[in-house]
Subunit: 273 residues, 2 copies
């Protein structure tokens, strides 16, 4: 496994590989990331991963400085998973003096996470476009756990005709239903014990839907009932492509939610079909 | 020469070519465009051109609807010049329902043309990125006549790590010095007779510079003296990379100007080294 940290090295190492699947990450890897690597391996060809805690997708009051990192462990996990190339740039490599570009993907980035984290998705789109341009993968893998990120990246790839196929990997969960996230490490024991409520809330919405409920507000209310006492940022029942909030679910929906436990925000989602 | 108008056709036709030089145009071709094609041919490999009057780089009060077009003549000229592939999409192909992406390149786009044409360079950057993603050229050719556009595209390519080498072709001029532009066709005989003043103004600035003048304002004044009676949008002496206005010219400069003749804006520039 080759590990490089400059753009020139990354381009040279990539040129030595054939068709490539890319797994972009912010590191501190868990089984969710590794399931994306496994999916990329199964897709055939070579596999690259990136580890980059991208400062431009963090707001000024967010957790950039304390975001968990463990590069040595990450590299061991990626090597064991059969990754061919890892690109671990510094912020200075990605954003040198004079850097001034930004990719905006409009309305879809202004809802849900985007409403609470202004500028977040411009940061995501810009860094993903840069990583795609540097490594020129044929396929790239993202986790459904970040549902809006998946929708935004699909929008960017479609709108800018980016020649990369976007593949989405299913959310990986703990036994009690908590979606894996690098940020789960922030949770206190009490918060950790309460955190499965997110998945319970999603299951409640799905249960009501499976029982025939099609009014989006009733589905939101079913989810919220499982979150009593929690600080809710949003509970959304939205169109899967545009992320517009629905009144009636007639053609599937994305049920997504964000909840705060102290300073830690957790998000999760389920798709209704 | 293959002529295609859908993205799928363009990708398929491009895949049949090897290393590629791209000349993006808005059509109504003149000797300036053809000099870029010749430069691309000389660069080796195949050559593609695009003809697309990009609506998103025109402001609401600009000349989109009357921008001159002559596709048949353009195709004859490109075929005679040895172009391999021409992509002529419609606005609906480039901007389908739901399109919502935009590439912004910050401060450099807010000066000069950008100050007078808000949104212009976001339109340029976005369409150029799309064309690059569709046709995946190794090299792309732009005319120095649009000096700020060249600087903005260089910024975008650097900042987003776009794997395309940007080549700039020298401005081609009429015998009296008027820079070739598809918009020259708008000029009345009187306006056409007056239009060489732009180049005379640039030469006056260069003359002063060659005589040892280094104060930028004195260079601007030397240019403006040749434009008396004209409606000047700007006369600029700026850093060649950042386009920041200079006080003293210590390391070369871009001298650029924009002048209105009735409803027609003309721009031109020279580099001081």
């Amino acid at each position: 496994m080759k590990v490089v940290s400059t753009i020139a090295e990354a381009r040279a190492a990539r040129a030595a590989l054939g068709p490539l699947g890319l797994v972009p990450t912010m590191g501190y890897l868990h089984a969710g990331h590794l399931s994306l690597v496994a999916q990329a391996k199964a897709g055939g060809g070579a596999v690259a991963a990136t580890i980059f805690v991208n400062p431009t997708q963090f707001g000024p009051t967010e957790d950039l400085s304390r975001y968990p990192r463990d590069l040595e462990r990450d590299l061991r996990l990626l090597e064991a998973a059969g990754v061919d190339l890892v690109f671990t740039p510094t912020p200075e490599v990605m954003y040198p003096q004079g850097f001034d570009a930004r990719i905006e993907v409009g309305a879809i980035t202004e809802k849900l996470e985007g409403a609470i984290r202004p500028g977040h998705f411009a940061g995501v789109c810009t860094v993903v476009a840069k990583l795609f341009n540097i490594l020129q993968p044929q396929r790239a893998y993202f986790g459904q756990k970040d549902a809006q990120q998946c929708a935004v990246i699909r929008r960017m790839v479609a709108d800018l005709d980016v020649p990369v196929e976007i593949k989405i990997g299913e959310t990986v969960r703990e036994a009690d239903g908590l979606a894996l996230s690098s940020r789960n490490v922030y949770l206190s024991p009490d918060q950790r014990a309460a955190a499965p409520a997110l998945y319970q809330a999603l299951l409640a919405a799905r249960g009501a839907y499976d029982d025939g409920e099609r009014r989006a507000q009733a589905l939101r209310d079913a989810a919220k009932a499982k979150l009593s006492g929690a600080v809710i940022d949003y509970v959304s029942v939205a169109d899967r492509v545009t992320l517009d909030e629905l009144e009636l679910v007639t053609d599937g929906a994305l049920v997504s939610l964000a909840v705060r436990f102290g300073a830690t925000r957790l998000i999760d989602n389920l798709i209704l079909t």
